[in-house]
């Protein structure tokens, strides 16, 4: 028998990052997403919550899965959808972005979902337009819906976040996925360990909330969750590690390493996976892997976020 009631009221018109959210706000998104997940299992996979609203996907960086996930989430809530995919011009990014945003806004739209190579682009769009803005990844800054869907997936599998030991492995310093995970997980009381080559571990605020390690094998046995990041060739100027083979040898997840993990360890990856680099196929497709659940949960999280921001009246929100 389901029970419980929440007096919590969501007041944000934008989702720009998890750094600015309180633990209570993060839990509210997760609880809302739990209600939305079931819609994707119905015979008619649609609810009328955003009927008559227009969602615009502004993707200035290539993306298939994230844009498909937002696309599907918007359609499952009966919103109308505009898609705008382009590579950002390297000069005058700011001006171009604001002009683009204002022009599209003038047609009468309700939610911008933006992905951009420049950190801070969603914040700028939110400041210069009156439309709800959802960050779908900005540079190496944040990817809040990925962080939320990862945390949702962990909570679903483990029943809690507080007290869990979570390793995030890979190129942390270039990873917006890592940053959003770090903020969200530590706010909910998880103990996060960042594992990677010395050249790829971050300093700064996010890094200070975590333990740092260069040695995957020494931390593995105590972990409840291991989240493997994708090597992002496109976000690295010069290679910050000697070779793919060396990376795989030191930080790749394989059956041998898995055998030294806890029996109920959860293996995650934000995708797309480089098979044989961050993770071998037998582990990626094996029983500990949550990779496909992450994708499924992503749609529910994005539905929840769009539903919540669209419900806040412009004059009331912040």
């Amino acid at each position: 028998m389901p029970r419980g009631k929440s007096q919590f009221v969501w007041t944000r018109r934008h989702l720009l990052g998890l750094e600015e959210l309180s633990a209570e706000e993060i839990v509210h998104v997760l609880d809302t997403a739990a209600g939305f997940k079931e819609i994707s299992t119905r015979s008619i996979k649609k609810a009328p919550a955003l009927r008559g609203k227009v969602v615009v996907l502004l993707f200035f960086e290539p993306s298939t899965r994230t844009s498909m996930s937002f696309n599907l989430a918007a359609q499952r809530l009966s919103a109308d959808l505009l898609e705008f995919h382009t590579e950002a011009s390297s000069v005058k990014k700011g001006e171009t972005l604001i002009d683009t945003g204002r022009n599209i806004e003038a047609m009468g739209v309700d939610i911008f979902v933006i992905r951009h190579a420049a950190a801070g682009a969603p914040q700028m769009l939110a400041r210069h337009t009156n439309t709800c803005v959802i960050n779908a990844g900005d540079g190496a800054h944040e990817h809040p819906t990925q962080g939320l869907l990862d945390i949702f997936t962990i909570r679903e599998a483990k029943g809690r976040i507080e007290g869990l030991k979570v390793a995030i492995v890979g190129d942390i310093s270039h990873s917006r996925v890592a940053r959003s995970n770090i903020w969200g997980l530590t706010k909910l009381g998880a103990e996060v360990t960042l594992v990677g080559p010395p050249t790829q571990l971050p300093g700064g605020l996010a890094g200070e909330r975590c333990r740092l390690s260069h040695d995957l094998d020494s931390v593995l046995p105590e972990m409840d969750v291991v989240n493997l990041l994708r090597i992002q060739h496109e976000r690295q100027g010069a290679n910050s590690f000697p070779s793919i083979r060396e990376y795989s040898r030191l930080f790749g997840m394989n059956a041998e390493r898995l055998s030294r993990c806890k029996d109920d360890v959860l293996i995650m990856h934000p995708g797309p996976i480089n098979r044989g680099v961050e993770i071998t196929s037998d582990v990626a497709d094996g029983p500990h892997s949550a990779i496909l659940q992450q994708v499924t949960n992503g749609v529910a999280i994005r539905m929840a976020v769009m539903y919540l921001v669209a419900g806040v009246k412009p004059e009331k929100g912040n």
Binding site: G35, S43, I44, A47, P48, G52
Partner: protein
Amino acid sequence: MKRILDAKGLSAAIDRMVDELAGVCPADLPWAVVGIRTRGVALAERVKAQLAAKTGRELPLGWLDITLYRDDLHEMEASPLVRQTKIDFDPTDMCIILVDDVLFTGRTIRAALGALGDYGRPKVVRLAVLVDRGHRELPIAADVVGCRIETRRDEVVEVSMSETDDGDEVVARPAGSGR
């Protein structure tokens, strides 16, 4: 505050609902009970248990959150909490017994019928409510009513059930003093 039903009265009202349901649901169809969240769920559980005992039928139980189907969703100050819906059977061609605690404007039932239709196409839907307090705004009526009462439009009728609250009772309060 005035008490409309105490624990004994509430139990007797559910007994009447169960008796009448057995008469209004087509005998040749499979039946299922669906409660509307939140108070309709506890009520639906009791109706299902008693109806199953009385008729010897298998009765699947589900519950429905109608938040996304509300006709005032866009007028509200903030998006209300969406709770989980659970209908893990196909309602197509069944007799669905829709259960809610209070029937008032009829808007919740309109939303529930819309939501239910997204799971399949029931052959028949019967509506069972514990309290009918009048003031309908839509052409909707219950098939089975536990208790009919006269209320003022601005009164609040509250049903408490021991599964979710301190005990069983139904009360009416003046506006603005609800739980």
